[in-house]
Symmetry: C3
Subunit: 149 residues, 3 copies
C-alpha cells in the first residue's frame, strides 16, 4: 500500500467511524429499529444502565419497546458529542458525550447526559460497534473515566 | 479519475457538507445574514415552521428580522447535531438534529429541538443547500421520520 | 507536492483540528489535566472569563482546581459544537459553540453556552491551540461576533 493510500485509509476510517456514531441518534429517534441494530455487530453489546443490551437484536427490541416508543411519542432527541477516535488496525475506540432531550409542555428538558466508550470493529460491511458502554455523568468517577481515550 | 482520486473526492464531499451544516449556527447567531444566505442556492428553500423561507434572500431577511435580532440580543445558540451524509453524484442528503438554546436570568433554556433533512447540490461555488426541512421533535411522527436518511 | 497529496493534506488538517476541538471536553470532564494541557502550545492562552489561563500549565491547574473538581464531582459535560475550520498554511482558525451541562437532582441544567474562537498552530507534535477565546452568549455583541470565521 502506497504512503498516499495509507493516509487516505486513515482518513476514511475516521470519517466512517464518525458516521457510525452520528447514525445512532437519528436511527433511534425515528424508530428505525433495524438501522440502529445494524450499527452493531451481531454479537455487539450496548452496555447501558439498568440493563445491558446483548446482541444487535436486543438493540432493535429496545427501539421497538413501549418505553422507547413512549419517548418518541413525547418528543425526544438522542444527541452525540463529537467523538475522539483512535484506530488501530481493524479495531478502534471512540469516546464522547451523549445527551437525551425530552419535550416538556413549554420547551425541552435535558434528561440524560452520559459518557460513552465505543469499541468498534472493521467488518466486511464496514465499521460496526462491538461494544458501547454508556454511563450517566452524575458524579460517578467510573462514568467520568470512560471519557479517557 | 483514478481510484485514489475517487476516494479522495468522496472524503472531500463528506467534509465539505459537514462544513456547510456546521456553518449555519455560527452564521445566524452572529447575525451574519449574508453568510447564512450563501449557504443556500439562490432558489434554496428553508422549510421551517410556521413560514418557509423561499430563496437565499429570504434567509438573509430572517437573520436581519426583529424576531431573530431579539434572540441574538437575549443570547442564543443554534447548535447542530453531527449529520449523517449520503452523497450521490452532484446531490446529497444529510439528516441531523438541531437545538436552540436561549439565555434565561440564571442559565439557558432548551427552546427548540428539531429534526432536519438537508438536500444539497454541488455547485461551482461548492456544496449548497437546495432545501432544508426542519420540524420540531414534539412527538409529531412526520418530524421523527425526517431523521431517516 | 502532488495535487493529490495537497488535497489529502487539506483533509488531514481539517480532521486533525476537529479532533483537537473534540478532545477538550472529554479531557476536562475526566479530570485528565495533562491531556487538556497538551492540546495547547506551551505558551497557549485559554482566554475565558473571569480569569484567562496563560500557558498550558495553567490549563492543567484549572482542571486540578477545587472549582473544576467540584463540577466533575457533581456531574458535568463540556460539549463542543461542530467547528467551522479555516486553515492557512501552518495556522488555522476554528469557531464553534460550547455548552456546559450540570447535574441537578432531577436531570441536568444548561449552565453555560458560549462562543469560541480557536487559533491553532501546526507543530511537530501536530495541531495545537495557541489561543482559545470563550465568551458567554448572553447577548454581548462581542461574544456573538466571535462566531464570525
Amino acid at each position: 500500500m502506497s504512503s498516499l493510500e495509507a493516509r487516505l485509509q486513515r482518513l476514511e476510517d475516521q470519517v466512517a467511524i464518525l458516521a457510525v456514531v452520528a447514525a445512532y441518534g437519528p436511527a433511534v429517534d425515528s424508530g428505525s429499529a433495524g438501522v440502529a441494530a445494524e450499527l452493531f455487530t451481531q454479537d455487539g453489546v450496548y452496555d447501558v444502565s439498568p440493563t445491558p443490551l446483548v446482541g444487535a437484536a436486543a438493540v432493535a427490541e429496545m427501539v421497538d419497546s413501549p418505553g422507547h416508543q413512549g419517548l418518541i411519542g413525547r418528543g425526544c432527541a438522542h444527541l452525540q458529542g463529537i467523538p475522539q477516535i483512535a484506530v488501530e488496525g481493524d479495531t478502534a475506540v471512540a469516546v464522547n458525550h451523549s445527551v437525551v432531550l425530552l419535550k416538556t409542555p413549554d420547551g425541552f428538558d435535558v434528561w440524560r447526559v452520559a459518557a460513552n466508550r465505543w469499541e468498534l470493529r472493521r467488518t466486511p460491511e464496514g465499521w460496526k460497534v462491538a461494544r458501547r458502554v454508556n454511563r450517566l455523568l452524575d458524579g460517578d468517577p467510573g462514568a467520568a473515566a470512560l471519557l479517557r481515550l
